[in-house]
Symmetry: C2
Subunit: 243 residues, 2 copies
């Protein structure tokens, strides 16, 4: 075991062109990439708490201390992982046709975000509130702001709705990811809480709960996400019409 193949990592990159001997600096970034790859596989296999420097070193057949020559600390590694996540989202978005209605572009972005964030829930939980300041993040922000500009909103309103859109999507993705990346035992405990206690509430004090008990557990996170995204898009349409 303990190969550094990183099978589950997104957007595997070969890191350049020819078979030229890589310089030191290139080798360094290459190993950083490998570490980021391993972080993805490790986090998704072992959960949020499983992504530790020691285990990551183990995954790469290397002492944990070596990682501190690639990243100043664990936080910097997490930011690198976060950048890679954004890069994967950009790849999932693909090319945006110039004449695509801005609504569909937003839907495309929301869909890509959901796909990637739910593919790596542990990573999402660890990074959803961070700012990388990296190139991929910049490109994604630019794409989104350009889309909102196309909607015809005035700059101030565009920024307000841009952040509403982004944070709503991110918050929901993180919430869903947090749910699906609890420890299995805790997850079980929380999940059964619904049927365990809610089904036994006195019907006279909790009529609404009793009336909806069956439906409650059948709402999928994705349906809820889509509903929220559409609600925000509709709000933007109304704001754009009014201005």
């Amino acid at each position: 075991m303990a190969k550094n193949t990183a099978t589950a990592a997104p957007t595997e990159r070969s890191g350049g062109d020819a078979a030229r001997q890589p310089t030191r600096r290139e080798r360094r970034t290459l190993r950083q990439e490998a570490a980021v790859n391993a972080a993805f596989t490790l986090a998704e296999r072992e959960g949020v708490a499983g992504l530790t420097m020691r285990r990551l070193g183990q995954e790469l057949d290397v002492d944990a201390a070596v990682l501190y020559r690639l990243f100043r600390d664990k936080d910097e590694l997490l930011l690198a992982v976060c950048e890679r996540t954004i890069e994967t989202i950009l790849g999932e978005i693909g090319e945006v046709p110039g004449d695509e209605p801005w609504q569909d572009t937003l839907r495309r972005i929301a869909e890509a975000t959901w796909q990637v964030q739910t593919r790596f829930p542990a990573i999402t939980v660890l990074t959803f509130a961070r700012t990388t300041g990296g190139p991929c993040e910049a490109r994604l922000v630019e794409l989104q702001l350009a889309t909102f500009t196309r909607s015809g909103l005035a700059p101030a309103a565009a920024v307000l709705y841009y952040r509403t859109f982004v944070d709503t999507a991110l918050g929901l993705c993180a919430h869903s990811a947090a749910l699906s990346s609890l420890d299995p035992e805790v997850r079980e405990k929380d999940a059964t809480a619904w049927t365990r206690v809610y089904a036994h509430l006195p019907a006279d004090e909790y009529p609404a709960t009793r009336a909806h008990i069956d439906q409650l557990s059948s709402v999928s996170q994705k349906a809820l996400y889509d509903t929220a995204v559409e609600a925000v898009i509709a709000a933007i349409e109304r704001a754009a019409d009014g201005s």
Copy 2:
């Protein structure tokens, strides 16, 4: 130092009526309440990583091992803290007039959630995806489901929009809380990332970003939250009209 006064804890409770000698069981729950209180003050003073069993014991002038006689493990303590948070939200909501339009009830709930969750960001981050199965949670769910029933939605749609509303609010609160409860240094690093790198992007490749650079940092989390909440409420209104 290390008083157990818990000044910042919400919904301080005196724990009952008379000066009757408390039974053993009452004393036990009393000390549990004290621990929960201390957990609030500690978490908000020291941040997410500062809420440890050892420091919590220190806060109560007691060895950490004692806490394991009050709660099976740290997770159970966290759930108790979560229940108390919900209790505080219920208190902030107050009495709902029977004839209040359901939209205003939802606004009231959203506002109370925001107020409480941002008052205790560290706690929010630690508990936002958990289910307590406790009485306060049950009462809050009942209140919300009853409100959605008043909107006239069919049961299935009511549940879908209920969960959309709740998860959107929770996700945004958690996102905001996560931002404001990063370590100060990390927080600084992330915050300055915007002005540090975004202000220096080439204007030809990032026109939209450059055009909105000033506005970007001036959007408050609260404004964004209100916008999202109104968007969801509007979506519910349309769904209720259509049905």
